[in-house]
């Protein structure tokens, strides 16, 4: 039996109000894309990593920078190239001749928000160094394990075109991203606003933070307390199970996907000012949370069915728990 417990209305109002400030602040730089910004915030509140797959020049890097600045968090950008080594990401121990000791020089991973630009250009060896960072939020260098700063978020980008010379991310790594998002081209009016806004100077330069790191950590804890009805937990598991039995999917979603969908739904509910999750939250997040974790069958690919369409089909086939 589900009893009304969990987060209080006043606490949730705080999350909702912070979300409004964040959206407004990011909206000063990013034109439109309110859905994407909401999902990014949900991922932040879930402490999940984001993979943005889109064509060049769409604003992926700008988005990551804007998010980092809005939260007053440290931001590092790593440009992934084929010659990038794992030590370039995590850091190395070097011998300091002055102190005659080995000292650790942390790599760019030691920041709150990491922009892993064109992650599919790096070799699998370098890509795999992110596995530990993303899951355990720690790095191991020379047998020494060091925790990463909290909050920690990786925003990775990749280009869906120009796949020559790239290394597709393995399933294990894709599964560690909470969401895969697409920004998409702006509309005519939006693009006009972009060029007007960026004509003289970048609004990013004058952007202030609206949420502190401590506040963000507090909001993350609050989101974990958002109520999820037992029938909705079953609904989530049913959706994920259906991806494993779908005829067009070779590899379905993992239990990590179920957990990710649950926690992201909690965050989205909190952003909307609710202390409980509703089925609409789950349906809205199903495509961004599940799509990148699936592998389509060859027949489905040849028929031109995208994974987004397949996930939408799966969601439509699972009954929503109503009376």
């Amino acid at each position: 039996m589900n009893k009304p417990t969990g987060v209080m209305a006043s606490e949730i109002a705080g999350v909702s109000e912070a979300a409004t400030r964040f959206n407004a602040n990011v909206g000063k730089v990013i034109v439109g894309k309110s859905d994407v910004i909401e999902f990014v915030l949900a991922a932040l509140l879930t402490e999940g990593h984001i993979l943005i797959e889109d064509v060049p020049g769409i604003g992926k890097t700008v988005l990551a920078r804007t998010v980092a600045k809005s939260l007053g968090l440290s931001f590092k950008r790593i440009q992934f190239t084929p010659d990038l080594l794992p030590s370039d990401v995590t850091g190395i121990y070097y011998f300091n001749q002055k102190s005659s000791e080995f000292e650790f020089r942390p790599g760019p991973i030691m920041a709150n928000i990491i922009l892993a630009d064109e992650i599919n250009r790096a070799t699998p060896r370098t890509q795999s160094c992110l596995l530990e960072c993303m899951q355990e939020r720690q790095i191991t260098v020379d047998r020494e394990t060091m925790p990463l700063p909290r909050p920690f978020l990786i925003i990775a980008t990749q280009n869906p075109i120009e796949l020559e010379g790239t290394f597709p991310l393995p399933e294990a790594q894709l599964d560690r991203f909470l969401m895969k998002l697409r920004l998409g081209y702006p509309s005519f009016d939006e693009e006009k606003t972009v060029i007007e806004r960026f004509q003289e100077a970048s609004p990013l330069d004058s952007l202030e933070s609206v949420i502190t790191a401590d506040e963000l950590l507090e909001l993350q804890k609050l989101c974990r307390r958002v109520q999820v009805h037992d029938s909705l937990r079953s609904y989530i598991v049913q959706i994920v199970h259906s991806t494993r039995n779908h005829e067009g999917i070779e590899l379905g979603a993992s239990p990590r996907a179920s957990l990710g969908l649950l926690q992201a739904s909690q965050s989205l509910a909190a952003i909307k000012g609710r202390g409980y999750v509703i089925p609409d939250d789950i349906k809205r997040l199903a495509v961004p949370v599940l799509t990148h974790r699936l592998t389509a069958r060859t027949e489905a690919r040849l028929r031109g069915h995208s994974l987004e369409e397949t996930v939408a089909e799966v969601v439509k086939s699972v009954p929503v728990p109503v009376e």
Binding site: Q227, L232, Y276
Partner: protein, 471 residues
């Protein structure tokens, strides 16, 4: 759907049901020694249909409608008993017929009880007919069901050596009107097998096909005489006879070759005559009534009937799936055959009957005192359930994958005048159902008032177009 086509399809559906019902009732009448006419039972079916249509228009509470329906059922059965058994009897004899039949159940099974028991499923069928939604799918299902029942009736009548009057005529009428009705329903959906300028001539093609089948049937009946069958079977008999003779010859040859065993002297003594055991009648020995043999034979017949029924069902399913796939392919859709779909449909139908029977309890249960803190939530959920049922009856059933907020858009689109009321009910339901937020007393009162005002819009609600016509 036009009024004319609606009437045609309803007439076809009624005709299909009446066909097999009449034969089943005729068989029942013969079994009970023709103490009553089959038309009496058919009349019960028609009465159930008419009464159900009238009761549906009443705006009373469900329990009162159920009680009234039950009383009318008893009245109809009482009138059904009047003509065959109590035409010249007094009023008291007639009115006490059923109670007396029940009272004497331990000693004898009166034909009045046969009519009473037969009336129960007939009543249910009549009510079902009154609620039938006319579509190609429904008519196909009725056709399958009726065909299977017709064959069952024929098989049982042959097993029990019962002659059914007009059986062939009724069967031909059933098949003819079924196929005609299917043709009309088919063209109603705008989906003809023929494209272009030949669309709409499907009905003519169907009639031609029926005529061709009937002519071929008559030809076969004329040509395939017993002499022809004997001629065909003659070589088969010869072959079997030859095998038998060969077998006998081989056995004789082997017997001649085997050494004869001489019986020992003591064995040639004449055996002492043993008194033969008296011939026993197994049924009497077991203490069972001789009628048990008939019952067991009927069970055996029903078993085989069940197998034939399943076979026919499978054949019809296969045929229908081919037809529907063909139809869908013509309209450019991809069709995937679902294994066990008809079995699932049958299970769903049986489960729905069971749920309905269980649901009858609720009509007479006292309202349970809910645990404190959750009275409001149960109330809100009850209202939403009622809303779902109310909308479904108007052809706006919620799709299983629709959330309450998505469904709200559907409802608001169909009922713009109830925009605010629907929004309020949905909002309260979502918070109660998923957030376990108990509404305040004022909100509950507002909910009841809102629901009452929404339900009172029957005129507008009836103008809501029925969704999902046809296949």
């Amino acid at each position: 759907m036009s009024r004319g086509r609606y009437l045609v399809l309803y007439t076809v559906l009624t005709g299909m049901e009446l066909s097999w019902l009449y034969l089943a009732a005729a068989m029942l009448s013969r079994l009970t020694g023709e103490r009553f006419s089959a038309f009496v039972l058919v009349a019960v079916f028609l009465a159930a249909f008419g009464i159900s249509r009238v009761l549906r228009r009443l705006r009373w509470r469900k329990r009162y409608i159920f009680i009234l329906g039950f009383l009318l059922f008893l009245t109809t059965v009482q009138f059904a008993l009047k003509l065959p058994f109590y035409a010249r009897s007094g009023l008291s004899d007639w009115l006490l017929a059923l109670p007396r039949a029940f009272a004497s159940l331990g000693r004898t099974f009166k034909p009045e009880l046969t009519i009473f028991l037969a009336s129960i499923p007939l009543w249910g069928l009549g009510v079902r007919l009154s609620r039938a939604k006319l579509s190609f799918g429904v008519l196909v299902a009725e056709f399958q069901f009726g065909l299977a029942l017709l064959l069952t009736t024929f098989f049982l009548s042959s097993q029990l050596s019962i002659t059914l009057p007009g059986a062939v005529v009724v069967a031909v009428v059933f098949i003819t009107i079924s196929l005609l009705g299917l043709g009309v329903a088919h063209t109603e959906g705008g989906m003809s097998w023929l494209k272009g300028r030949n669309r709409g001539l499907w009905l003519g093609l169907l009639i031609l096909t029926i005529t061709l089948v009937l002519v071929l049937g008559l030809l076969i009946t004329a040509l395939v005489t017993p002499d022809l069958i004997n001629l065909v079977l003659k070589p088969v008999r010869w072959l079997i006879g030859t095998i038998d003779r060969m077998g006998t010859a081989v056995a004789t040859y082997l017997e001649a070759r085997l050494p004869k065993i001489e019986a020992p002297p003591e064995m040639t003594r004449e055996p002492t005559p043993v008194a033969e055991p008296p011939e026993r009648d197994i049924w009497r020995f077991l203490g069972w009534d001789i009628r048990l043999r008939d019952i067991l034979r009927s069970i055996f017949a029903l078993f085989w009937l069940g197998l034939i029924f399943v076979g026919i069902w499978q054949a019809c399913s296969w045929l229908i799936s081919i037809l529907s796939r063909r139809l869908a392919m013509n309209s450019g859709a991809e069709v995937e055959q679902i294994e066990g779909a008809f079995r699932q449909d049958l299970l769903v139908f049986l489960k729905s009957i069971w749920r309905w029977l269980l649901g009858l309890r609720r009509l007479f249960e006292r309202r349970k005192v809910a645990s404190s803190g959750f009275v409001g939530i149960d109330g809100v959920r009850g209202v939403y359930r009622a809303l779902l049922s109310w909308a479904a009856k108007r052809g706006l059933a919620r799709s299983p994958a629709e959330t309450p907020w998505e469904y709200l858009h559907t409802l608001q689109g169909a009922l713009p005048s109830g925009h605010n009321e629907l929004n309020f009910i949905t909002g309260l339901y979502v918070s109660a159902r998923y957030g376990m937020v108990s509404p305040a007393e004022a909100e509950l009162a507002q909910l009841r008032a809102t629901w009452a005002s929404l339900r009172k819009a029957p005129a507008k609600a009836r103008s809501i177009p029925i969704r999902g016509k046809g296949v």
